[in-house]
Amino acid sequence: MTGQAPVVLLAGNPNAGKTSLFNRLTGSRAKVGNYPGVTVERRSGKLTVGDARGAELVDLPGTYSLTARSSEESVAVDALLGRGSAPPDAVIVVADATALRRGLYLATQVLDAGRPVVLALNMIDEARASGHTVDAERLAGALGCEVVETAATKNQGVAELAQATARALKQAPKQATARALKQAPKQAPKQGEGAEAKGEPSGTEDGDPNAAPAMPTTPAMPEALARSIAQVEEVVRREDARADAAGARALAMWAILSLGDDELTAPSWLREAAARAHEEAQREGRNLDEELVAWRYGRVDAALEGALTEAREEGESTSSRVDAVLVHPVWGLAAFAVVMLVVFQMLFAWSEPLVGAIEGAVAAVQDLVRGALPAGAIRDLIVDGAIAGVGNVVVFVPQIALLFAFITVLEDSGYLARVAFVIDRVMAAVGLHGRAFVPMLSGYACAIPAVLATRTLENRRDRLITMMVVPLASCSARLPVYVLVTAVIFDPEAKVLGVLSVGAVVLLAMYGLSMVATLVAAAVLRRTVLKGPRTALVLELPPYRLPSVRDVLLATWARVRDFLTAAGTVILALSVVIWGLLSYPKDPAAEARWEAKRAEVTASVAEGEERDAALEAASQAEAGEALRHSAGGRLGHVIEPVIEPLGFDWRLGVGIIGAFAAREVFVSTLGIVFDVGSVDEESQPLREALRDARRPDGSKLMTPLVGVSLMVFFVLACQCMSTIAVVRRESGAWKWAGLMFGYMTVLAYVASLGVYQVGRLLGLDGA
């Protein structure tokens, strides 16, 4: 054995409790990375249980089959067959003991690859409770691998699984192959009350180590199918010297089901061989896909014959009774609405105190450091650049943690699949999957957790579309902008139809615009940049289960940690850049002038409120002048010709530049520009200043038309560097983040231009 730790893959269906088992086997310490070339998360950890301690356990993405159409889907098969990496030393296949008739399909595919396999029958407690009886020994005999019964959430059978894995690692791969050919390992005695059965390893029989790979004898493979597979297999052996017998055969079977209308980068010889096999079968009136899958399921049924006794009644299970309510035409929709309301409330309101606490803590740290360091550029950089930037990152943590804890609870309990089931019809209308609903909804609170939540979508194209349109959802950071602008341009007493205030109607219109834009953008992306075959909904509705607190906390922490380290660093860097833009270059002459002014006030005005007010006014004016002098302030002038057709002047332009740090910063930036200080949207001085603002020709700046144009701009524009950073992280490429920023900016510009110019033509620019 080389110095490298052996590698054990963990494969299994979604909802089979694979993550739970991974956490148990590794002591919850996972290293998270990416598979090379794709944005599929690669979780691995050291086995901390049993004799194989130290072996690397790699958690493969949950899948029902090894068949792949995209490079994301082929991650599992590549790892298993050692394509692009060393082949694994052993594989643990996790099957949901309550759904073995489907779960063993993947298990037999993995077995065919010829690596030593241990099958974990997870959730065995649940299977027993619902009346199924599994004879693990008999199953082990039929499959030719060790079978261990586990209940990961209760930590049962985990030690036995680890021991079985250690035994599997000791086998030479070729012996494993031969062993399976020779049928049934010897039986181990059933263990007392734990009832964990294990097949004893039986490495004694060793047939010809170069024999053809394992193919259990029942049911016999139809001769024609065997011929087709052999035909492809022969090509693999000829072209790929590295492939061993089992690997060549497994690759041949994989190619037959996967290649054709795929988006894979498979070698052309393999592609041609698979196509030829299909063609020849077709000429004989056979369908190779169907034959191969049917044969494999025949094998599953044969393996379960006598090993599985199913409960007589499946219709009246607890899950079925719960579903009678939760997906009921009336109660189901009501339950759905309540759960979604909770999601929204959580992001919008419940996270608020936590966000407030974080902002308070950041301000306290800033004060502390400001007091401890001598005044100067370094102090400014640390306090207003770096510490404020860290605050910009950490402030998202409460929403991300809350959303992911809740999503994990929904997912592990089985309800998230029902969410998709209930709302799929609506989402399908714009070409999306039912699972896209939760991220879309979350987007109305904040795009950052929403983009992260797109991880629940398994199809990459669906996921990209969703994350690229989620920022169009009108998030809570836009609200202060709407509130300020409506307060400035509309009389609070003005009513529509005598009851509704004009402001409320405009606000509603902005949310409507955002909703329409989101759906249209999704439909357009689906038909253009992210065009591709329509993804069918193939959704398992797993039995309802009680989520484990431990798994929920671990999943939540993993998300938060990933956000802080990956996207957080980019957000921090961008924060510092924007702060620099709005702070430099300094104007020493102006600073000296304002210093003198303050001295004059202190000398001439008696101590008291009057003096404080005068000093305050002076520093606000100074901040305004400094901002106008900064690179960002001058940039406002630079972009003025571009934004003038939208009705904006350079001051609004500076606000828009500042808003890139976060949309609500638009308000405080305008406050500084208008010499009223860093204020919020409720500030009367800022509202007054905006109402009184004039253009050089003396006309009013903030007419209702300009206000509406500005709000439309904020609905559609990607004014948020954090969103860009997160989309870059989640899509794996700047390309997608750039495309999103580009299309949203163009959309916003064109829409605002339309509003302002058409409005002017209609003579609405008066008032």
């Binding site: 008739r101 077709q282 049917a294 049924d301 007589r312 499946e314 699949a417 069918a536 959704l539």
Partner: protein, 145 residues
């Protein structure tokens, strides 16, 4: 990159599954509570393979449990688990009606394979070894009919 097999698949995938004469129904026509035995699946190849791999192989008994609150997708019971697919995909799954789900569930513990169950119910099953090909799947039908 496209092979002749693909071209064939694509051309047929556009056809409406109901355009071919058949005595059996498709899965989208079964009322909730009814069960059928899968005869064949038609549609886009990638979807057909996915449905096959989720256990909807010819000879398998499948029950329509209910529709989603908004009418689509459908909730199916197949191979001892619950699967949801849209009506548009269900329309490609040709089934022979075996009536209400309830009577089939009476009786002793269900042992044996889906195939033996289907045989007992007198339904045609896929028999890839026999001379008579049953597994003629929609997307490959252009060349054979």
């Amino acid at each position: 990159m496209s092979t002749p097999v693909d071209a064939d698949h694509d051309s047929v995938s556009q056809k409406s599954p109901s355009s071919q004469k058949s005595p059996s129904q498709d899965l989208s026509q079964l009322a909730p509570g009814k069960a059928g035995v899968v005869r064949r699946i038609r549609g886009e190849r990638r979807t057909v393979v996915r449905l096959l791999e989720m256990g909807l192989v010819p000879g398998t008994r499948v029950e329509v449990k209910r529709k989603a609150p908004l009418g689509d997708p459908l909730e199916l019971r197949v191979r001892g688990y619950t699967l949801s697919i849209r009506r548009s995909e269900a329309a490609g799954v040709e089934v022979s009606d075996v009536g209400d789900a309830a009577p089939a569930r009476k009786g002793a513990a269900r042992k044996g394979t889906a195939e033996t169950r289907a045989r007992a119910e007198g339904e045609p099953v896929l028999d890839v070894g026999s001379a008579e090909p049953v597994g003629r799947v929609g997307y490959a039908s252009k060349g054979t009919s």
